[in-house]
Point group: C2
Chain length 502, copies 2
Amino acid sequence: MSANSAFSKLDALSRKLEAIEHAQSMLGVDEAVMMPVGGGEKRAETMSTLAGMYHEMATAPEVGDWLGDAEAEPLDEMQSLAIREFRRVHTNMTCLSADFVRKQVNARIRAEQLWRELRPTGDWAGFLPAFEGLVATAREEAQLRADVLGLSPYDALMEQYDPGNRVAEVAPVLNDLKTFLKDFVPAALAHQEAKLARRPLKPLNAPFAIDKQKALGLVMMEAVGFDFEHGRLDVSHHPFCGGVPTDIRMTTRYTEGEFLTSLMGILHETGHGLYEQGLPKEWTHWPVGRARGMAMHESQSLFVEKQIARSPEFWEWAMPHVREKLGAEAIAGWDLEDVLAHVHFIERGLIRVDADEATYPLHVILRFELEQDLISGKLAPKDVPAAWDAKMREYLGLSTIDNMKDGPMQDVHWPSGAIGYFPSYTLGAIIAAQLWSAIERDQPNAREDMRNGRFVGINDWRRENIWSQASKYSTPELLQRATGEKLNSKHFQEHLARRYLS
Amino acid sequence: MSANSAFSKLDALSRKLEAIEHAQSMLGVDEAVMMPVGGGEKRAETMSTLAGMYHEMATAPEVGDWLGDAEAEPLDEMQSLAIREFRRVHTNMTCLSADFVRKQVNARIRAEQLWRELRPTGDWAGFLPAFEGLVATAREEAQLRADVLGLSPYDALMEQYDPGNRVAEVAPVLNDLKTFLKDFVPAALAHQEAKLARRPLKPLNAPFAIDKQKALGLVMMEAVGFDFEHGRLDVSHHPFCGGVPTDIRMTTRYTEGEFLTSLMGILHETGHGLYEQGLPKEWTHWPVGRARGMAMHESQSLFVEKQIARSPEFWEWAMPHVREKLGAEAIAGWDLEDVLAHVHFIERGLIRVDADEATYPLHVILRFELEQDLISGKLAPKDVPAAWDAKMREYLGLSTIDNMKDGPMQDVHWPSGAIGYFPSYTLGAIIAAQLWSAIERDQPNAREDMRNGRFVGINDWRRENIWSQASKYSTPELLQRATGEKLNSKHFQEHLARRYLS
């Protein structure tokens, strides 16, 4: 490829964009982990200026020309995929006018600020005008994207988060899961009640010193494959996995009263980190070298958290490490079943982010259904509280009609304008279970490996089938190639039944 | 000022450049404080890409046009100064061709890599070819700059570090100081010997726990005026003061065997930090809003370290804090004189960075003299070892002829191409003493303030006369305005005599 080829020009541009993203990512990490409060104003100005520079460079008129020219150049297979993905990203980035984006940013800022102010008191009436403005803008955005992408409006929104995911394929899978969960959740709760009647939940022997918890977390991270030459663990108020593939910055939050929440959180974020660390190094500056969307990313974190780190086999291996790192008194007299009773504890609740893996999908499906109707116009913003309450009562037997704070005002997503994102969470859980089944099919000793703290085979499979594939394929294609099956919730249902009904 | 004015265009460009600098600065801090080793390669690539983007934007052809247009626009006084300083920076940045800069970067990389490899064994013969290449390029650079700036070649190099500093004014001051020190150093050493014979140096009661040392450092930083809303202290292998004015990132390095070196280092870097924190907020994105050069910056760190933190008055206040933070046993049975014997301890040595304030200037003057001759061609690179040895013997009575490692190969400056920088260190020490004298003239109770841990008056004076002035004036103008005197070493000589001969 000559240095004057359109492909080379896009390669050079990609390196500049990657440098800005690297800076944005690390400045974001620094802000959460290190920055003193007075640095915030100038930092926000800097982030906004860098974002503007990024957008200006990525959407400059010549970029479209280079893409057209590159498509006509002789390219090898990976280069062709790189151009296809660059084109997809470019189309998604350029399909809204600058005027519309400004209007949208204002609607989002207004709604999010008002949400932060009014959420504590659940003042829906106060919030509604901003929410109406936001939904109107989201409908307009969905239509603008739909026109360019040749998709339905809601599909066009989902396309930003999970390329290739369509309501036509996703909705039946989630409906199937919903039907399953309506009977499963009561059965699992009854099963748990009977178990706990026989063997009550043992209290944790707090306090757990934070340095000891950290040491335990580091051992677990390393065991499941995190590369500390290319990443680290810090503390922040909201745990996250940030940084860049060669330098993953994970955070957690500790409390001395309990160690399992933080440990599971660390392992969840480690799943995100492993995906990033496993991306192909030579393509990190191209869109095709990035992780494939939100659902696949969440599948990797949920794989480590739910499939590995909450499994009985994992805990057989982990319990001696807990005793060694936290001290023998931490879980004195505990058997495996006592830990599992904690990490498998389920209950119905109002709040999505606090939900367990059995009830979480119902929270997501509720939002998925409501936001489709919001975008299509079938549901008016003012009618959300009633619709929310009806579904909460139907799916989880709980009412939120007098509790907006823990009902439709609980999440930041809608106020910040993220519509089409919620399904990714549960698709991630479904994909994680589907991947585990495929691994067990290919590696019949996978559970035995976990029991012995060996994660190399499991990680090699994921590296080959998911991580190294980056964004070469759409989300459904990637899943089909990796597992030989289309997206389906069968494996997730079996996973839940095995864990919560036996 | 209309949004279409040339001034406004330069203002908008400055905000973009500031955002890149903010990113570069914080990525640099992160690299030293947080980054895992495997992140280095991509980080280096990112830094290089950002530097290229910065240079491209700052030297784009239209910038020169905007400067010309802005000079003709109606500007208030500060705006005029802003354009003047922008012009100065722009001239310094554009006076070398891209081809020359590439050649120079290669010469520097080669020399610095070879220096790192050969310094441990002091292999001068192996290093010489690269050093010759480097000096040849530096001579060419000096001539190119000199032609554009209308200065002599060496002045043109100094101009990058300390705008307005000229050999014609600096050399007589440093010569005067050299003459003074030739007699002063032996006298001060004899005085010290007599003192220590009467009252021997008390050993420190190590170990000093690192968390206690950190607590002590934070108390001292806060006392001398560091704003922790806009900065923090961390640990790195090489201590530095980085970040941005609204978010100063200082580092230090601790050893359990000793606490004074780290504490003095913290206070030195705090001096740099105070300067940055005191810059005018509304101009941080313009060159005129930056700190005024290396000598003035060093004067601020040396002011805090040498004028304040090694003074008897400071230690009268500080000793109870040391006892409180490190524990009473840390300096059990010590009087003020015992601490002062440590913080005023002087000795002749080969290594500049280890030198005390009495001998340090002689190391600098040696380099200042040699590098002028290297640039003029009077001294050939191959003759540096002999010239270095002759001066070391004359100034400090020590020979380096068989010890290149601790002779001309000790510093990274020349191998990395920084010629014209060394004088800044000693000019900083001279300026710090000159500023102290001016403060004592204006605030006769300044020493009494220190004795009581009150630094507000001293800092207000510096804020008004130095920090808030940013880069409105050249280094000599700024000093003259602040102290009412031209640069002179009288106050520094008096400071040394008071401290080391009484």
